[in-house]
Symmetry: D2
């Protein structure tokens, strides 16, 4: 089994993105699954193109994307991507759109196919706070959740996709008042735990 | 130089207190200062009696107390203790008082004598979020800040005292939604950094 | 034009629900539209049955449901209902389900058909804070958003539906620390403004 | 009995300050007390000079100051002012100081003399959320609490002073996400209730 794990590059004026920092620390194999690490641009559509190229090249069974959610204190496993692009800040190529669909004529939303609750429980079993999220917002994170589900539904059947939001790193929270953060070690461990839950579920089928 | 470092025992129905967990992990010496670790009860006045006994036994130059502040995301160095006991929950011996002084006829408040800003900066220099807090609330944490300052002002002159609030541990935040937390390693490191800042400042005089 | 406006009855041990309090204060007509006020039970499926009965009896053009969102500070116009019932507390008949669909084999979500952004702007034009929300949670509020959209899609075509979350009333926030609230007058005014935006948009077609 | 009620002018780039808006709406008499309304500048020391001039001119029995606390959801009656000026933004004349005393050689803090708890209870009795606050921060609001207490302690004995923080007005919260606010009517009513509690307590002595 192969799992493609993606992390966004920095955006919003930050020099680091906790997501790509964490993805690059993953080992080559977790629970018997081969791990392919990929940094993707925080850009509307271009993010999806880079993922689609990696799907073609690597033929992964699972695509798991990771994003940073400043202000969240725990690991959140996203349940759904919605057919809405509504950006309150520009993406890394200056796109800032209001109330646009990700895919014209696409369905209103896609519930992800990875085992969301098992992922949360596996992370918590390592004493790391985690919960299910019912909204990934309407910026590029949601764009990728929806867009990858749509790729699978329309062009690459038989695969699963999912999305984890992770907090800021402690160094990103310096001087930002009560901004929550999580240590790099704990975020890497959480991501491994989530991948284990996915790998084991697939191997049980 | 000797530094007495105190941590509260668990309260409010919790089985663990991040403060005592962190204090017990401190080494015997930091930056040339001897460290004396002490767990204190989360009890009005009894907490102060245990600290006073330790002052008599160990003759410390500095008394630094550590408390857990559920809901705070960063290390907060408290600036002041006020002459108010106003407990919204009972302490560990069932004391729940409203609008009472810590010390009848004591001054309204004491600003702590440790170098608050240098402690914050030293913690941040380790990439750990920290800030100054201007209120330790009105429960046993504030009681200890005020009470130890009053002991020093009235009976044990020439010493310094201070107080750090630390977030919950990750395992305490499990299942509590968006409750912030900080890893044990990071909290221990932060406490060491704060003590270094205190020790170096005193050695410069 | 007729608009059916529903408000939930109290739940979670509260004696009042800001939603039903506000709905019952609406006038019989707003911007030329006839207003039909309806209290609905905070109960899985039963809420939808009561709404469907009212659709049959009154033949409304629009169904606008109102719910209370404790902790939110502004009026939020919901954008989407998702096919998930995941209740962290029991509803008013004791139903507490985990990760169940609202409608087995229903689509993953429905974007609402009312003019969400125009509703927000109209409310703000009255100097009342409002924003778009991308998640109504997974309790009975979301159940009603999804369920009513599904009724319209499958049985009652040609209608629109929408959902507003409103904050707690000030008297519900007493003694609850920093819980935000909004005055009754302001919430009633906001609801009228939202309905005007819906009525005017439909009359322009 | 005379009560001087002060409200700050706008600061931080805002065009309105909820405090001065509310103070100017007070009637000339409340519960038998004559009310003197005064706008004061959000400026270090200059704020205190303007208050001292009004004390000399009007000889009030009570000085009650009102400030705006963006982000707080309820009316907070401040318990204490501390001898610290530590401004994270400049005041209206560009003063931005770090860790300075309000009054060199002044006591560390002053607990206010007005009946804080009775004021909170009276406001709540009007179904308006209110609570006691143990920190007014370290900007000009705290400067005024501490400074007026010090004026009374050193030059104008026999008087009382106090401070209320009020939320933003709804129109100040537009487009600021989940920023809490309170209607003008409710804030004016809360301020009247707090003044009644002060007036009645003094008349009982």
């Amino acid at each position: 089994m192969k799992i493609l794990v993606t992390g966004f590059d920095p955006f919003g004026g930050e020099s680091v993105n906790a997501a790509s920092e964490t993805v690059r620390r993953l080992p080559d194999a977790i629970a018997g699954a081969e791990i392919i690490r990929l940094e993707i641009p925080t850009v509307r559509y271009r993010s999806l193109q880079v993922i689609e190229e990696a799907i073609c090249r690597h033929d992964p069974d699972v695509i798991l994307s990771i994003g940073q959610a400043a202000g969240r204190a725990d690991i959140t496993v996203e349940r759904i991507g919605i057919n809405v692009d509504d950006y309150s800040i520009p993406d890394n190529e200056g796109n800032q759109v209001t109330d646009q669909p990700v895919i014209a004529d696409g369905p209103d939303a896609y519930l992800v196919k990875v085992p969301v609750r098992a992922m949360v429980e596996r992370i918590r079993s390592r004493s790391i706070p985690a919960s299910i999220s019912n909204s990934a917002g309407t910026f590029v994170c949601n764009h990728v959740i929806y867009g990858v589900c749509h790729l699978i539904a329309t062009k690459y059947p038989g695969r699963q996709s999912g999305f984890l939001h992770i907090p800021c790193l402690p160094r990103q929270a310096l001087g930002k008042g009560n901004m929550p953060s999580m240590s790099q070690e704990m975020m890497t461990e959480a991501l491994k735990a989530a991948i284990e839950a996915i790998a084991e579920e697939k191997q049980n089928f």
